[in-house]
């Protein structure tokens, strides 16, 4: 293998791929990036066995071939090189880089040792708008669980049905759900549970204005646009019935400016317990009182004017859950609904224009006293 590539193309390619390389691995080849030089360019691939990223970069190829070489080291080298063409060639199991007067030889591993990437046929797939996909990912994936006890909740549920696509994520204490029109007519009716790490790569590597090709093959999902491909293993299992826990009979509601509410909650959170982050909210006609009382530390009180309809209600929350949900609300005004102190509260955007299909749930903390 022998090719010449601009430093910028090399650095961009490596930067795109190396984020998918595991930081710790027992399989040495996974710390490497696979180079495959074809006719007029090079594919660079990296994977942690769950998620794989593959990027094409233009290059002047003298001799086709392939090899794997240490990803992080290459990326560090590419970052420090001057802006000149970089010549890369294999010497046995070594890879040699020349750029200006700099010259590096790094030990590689044969490409046969690199795991085979999933074969996904994009002609069999469908396409989605980058902006739509990003929107769904950004506003839901924050809510996934990081606990190992229920692996299914470690993924984001992506539902395609009746011309709609939806993403849902939850850790069992709070939940985010968003929907947009599916866009492409060829979209199937299907559910996928996607690891958030893969969605992060999708967000990082694709642009809003790109049409992203999506296809499934067996237990893998592939995303493709431009010269960039992301593959991911899907999480197997049945996602809990989230529809069932979305309250339909919440009869108390508040409309409030999300920035004002968030800053009041943040103020209270300062004095809240480091472990439970509990704050207490008492809603009444025209206002909400926020309270916090933490043994050994002290107490805080704040109040905020808002529009509230329904019987008075006192309810406790983990301040962090509330703040997170508010942060992802796309509108300045939000609508909160409640039923009772121990039932799920909902938070939704309030928009004068088209309604936004976005809903977050937060389960309260039980108030013991």
């Amino acid at each position: 293998m022998n090719f010449t590539i601009t430093r910028q193309n090399l650095h961009q390619g490596l930067a795109a791929v190396s984020a998918s390389i595991p930081t710790k691995t027992t399989l040495p080849v996974l710390s490497n990036i696979l180079f495959e030089a074809g006719q007029d360019g090079v594919w660079m691939s990296g994977t942690d066995l769950d998620v794989a990223v593959r990027v094409w970069a233009q290059a002047d190829v003298k001799e086709q071939g392939s090899l794997t070489a240490p990803g992080k080291k290459l990326q560090e080298i590419a970052r420090e090189l001057p802006d000149q063409p970089v010549e890369i060639q294999t010497r046995g199991d070594q890879i040699e880089l020349r750029c200006g007067r700099s010259n590096f030889k790094l030990n590689g591993l044969p490409s046969e040792e690199f795991p085979t990437l999933p074969e996904v046929d994009f002609d069999e797939g469908w396409s989605v708008k980058g902006a739509d996909l990003h929107q769904l990912i950004q506003r839901t994936s924050f809510a996934v669980s990081t606990e190992e006890s229920r692996p299914i909740l470690n993924g984001v549920l992506w539902e395609l049905r009746d011309g709609q696509m939806r993403m849902v994520a939850t850790n069992g204490h709070r939940l985010a759900r968003m929907g947009v029109p599916a866009g492409s007519a060829s979209a199937p009716s299907a559910d996928f549970i996607v690891p958030p790490a893969a969605l992060q790569q999708v967000q990082r590597l694709f642009q809003d204005d790109e049409e992203i090709g999506v296809a499934r093959s067996g237990n893998h999902l592939g995303f493709r646009a431009g010269g960039t491909e992301v593959y991911t293993r899907l999480i197997e299992g049945t996602y809990p019935n989230y529809e069932q826990v979305i309250p339909k009979d919440n009869d108390k509601f508040a409309i409030v400016d999300k920035h004002q509410l968030a800053s009041a909650v943040r103020r209270m959170a300062v004095v809240a317990s480091d472990q439970t982050h509990r704050i207490r909210m008492a809603f009444e006609d025209g206002r909400v009182h926020l309270n916090v009382l933490t043994p050994d530390l002290g107490e805080g009180h704040d109040e905020l004017e808002l529009h509230y309809e329904g019987e008075g209600l006192e309810i406790g929350f983990n301040a962090n859950y509330l703040l997170e949900v508010l942060r992802y609300m796309p509108t300045d005004e939000v609508r909160l609904t409640f039923k009772a102190p121990e039932r799920a509260a909902t938070v939704e955007p309030v928009s004068d224009d088209e309604p936004i299909d976005y809903l977050c749930l937060v389960m309260p903390l039980r108030l013991l006293d």
Binding site: R150, G172, H173, R174, P240, Q275
Partner: protein
């Protein structure tokens, strides 16, 4: 009103375990110039060594056998744990009479905050105050201490290393950066050997080298959080306060085996015993823990650990053991070689039972139920009356520590040995430690 200039001291006992061993046994340890305190036998580890023995290269956390190779004349004595706790309390009591705010950072280190005491001490300089405190502590407790001083905890801590042994070193306000310039990066708490090596590979060994680097580069190299942390640390910045009520951060128990162990069933038995020990301490202090950590040191001294943070805090032996057992299993699957040391730690400690976070879906089987907790409390009562081994689960039978095994624990009274303490008592730098 202008902010008063902070006046922080770190009082660090000189070779504390050595001093206590000598005071406890004036005829034996008291006469040995070359003294090593720690586990004897083939597997023991040095807890502390006299300054004379350190001159031979003996260091804390080194196997005692290696210490004896370096310094064959040394006398080895066991750690006088009970006496160490008692002497530590005496030092602390003496300091409480000398300073308004005292925080015990470990068994032999105490931070004092003397901010605003200039008038009280009639214009005495911080160096003079430190000298006075040093002398008074020595008179009252017979423990020799070194004292570092400065405007921040970090500066006081680094100055104390300069003051050792039996001295005082105070960095005057405004002199922090000049003082830092002379240090090596590896001297800064939070920069461990691995990170120091990464820095050295970039040509950064002394603080003065790193001060030349623009902070943006640190962020580019090590990520924003860690980069910013480094940039502020090398300038001697440290916003942490001397807080006498800083809560305990962890409880742990470790055992170094007399012979390396490779048998999973036996390792689990030891683990069960350790889970009982740490969970027992936890309950005695009225706490619950959210994070369980298992630590292994393999026969080749490679140390590995795995931890898990639970959705709800736990307190029973059974729950701690269940989580620890899974973690041990993971560690063993990754690398199955003979084990030299096994340990269990609990962190994320909380005292209040806490308001209950309600769940959207039916919870999976909880790790411990109210019934489990009640049963455990009944067992605690029995153990209190009839001894720790009055009632034990079958799985720990046959796991009495063998002659030559060395155990250490960190719970309220005693503090972990020096090498462990760095990890449990200090806040690690943000980000990944590599």
């Amino acid at each position: 009103m202008t902010q008063p200039v902070p006046r922080i001291l770190l009082v660090d006992c000189d070779a504390f375990y050595v001093q206590v061993a000598r005071l406890e046994d004036p005829e034996g340890a008291g006469r040995a110039r070359l003294l090593v305190v720690g586990g004897a036998g083939g597997r023991g580890v040095v807890t502390s060594a006299s300054y004379e023995a350190r001159a031979y290269g003996v260091r804390s956390a080194m196997p005692t056998a290696e210490a004896l190779r370096l310094c064959p004349e040394a006398t080895v004595v066991p750690v006088p744990r009970a006496a160490c706790s008692a002497r530590s309390r005496e030092v602390r009591d003496a300091l409480s009479r000398l300073s308004p705010v005292v925080q015990a950072a470990s068994i032999d280190e105490f931070y004092l905050d003397l901010t605003g005491t200039e008038r009280l001490f009639r214009g005495e300089s911080l160096t003079e105050t430190a000298e006075r405190i040093r002398r008074t502590v020595l008179d009252e407790t017979r423990i020799s201490v070194s004292i570092g001083g400065g405007t921040r905890r970090l500066i006081a801590k680094l100055a104390a290393s300069r003051a050792k042994p039996a001295g005082v070193y105070v960095v005057a306000p405004g002199e922090e950066e000049a003082f830092m310039r002379e240090l090596r990066l590896a001297d800064i708490p939070g920069i461990g050997p691995a990170f120091a090596e990464v820095l050295a590979r970039r040509g950064l060994v002394h603080v003065r080298d790193a001060l030349e680097v623009q902070p943006e580069w640190f962020e580019r190299w090590f990520g924003p959080q860690r980069g910013r942390w480094l940039a502020s640390r090398i300038r001697g910045e440290d916003a942490s306060r001397v807080d006498p009520h800083e809560p305990r951060r962890s409880i742990s128990s470790e055992r170094t085996f007399f012979e390396d162990r490779d048998d999973d069933a036996r390792l689990e038995r030891t683990l069960a015993r350790q889970a009982m020990a740490v969970a027992g301490t936890l309950r005695r202090q009225g706490l619950r823990a959210r994070t369980v950590t298992v630590k292994l040191r393999d026969h080749d001294f490679r140390t590995r650990s795995a931890s898990r943070t639970l959705p709800e805090p736990v307190e029973t032996d059974q729950a701690v053991f269940e989580v620890a057992r899974r973690l041990l299993g993971e560690l063993r699957r990754r690398r199955r070689v003979p084990v030299r040391l096994l340990g269990v730690g609990l962190s994320g400690l909380q005292s209040e039972p806490g308001p209950h976070q309600l769940a959207l879906f039916d919870e999976a089987e909880p790790l411990e139920s109210d019934r489990d907790r009640t049963v455990t409390r009944v067992l605690d009562t029995l153990r209190e009356r009839f001894g720790a081994d009055a009632v034990v689960p079958g799985r720990v039978l046959g796991d009495a520590p063998r002659g030559g095994d060395v155990s250490s624990s960190s719970d309220g009274a005693a503090s972990p040995p020096r090498d462990e303490r760095r990890r449990s008592a200090r806040r690690p730098p943000p980000g990944d430690a590599r």
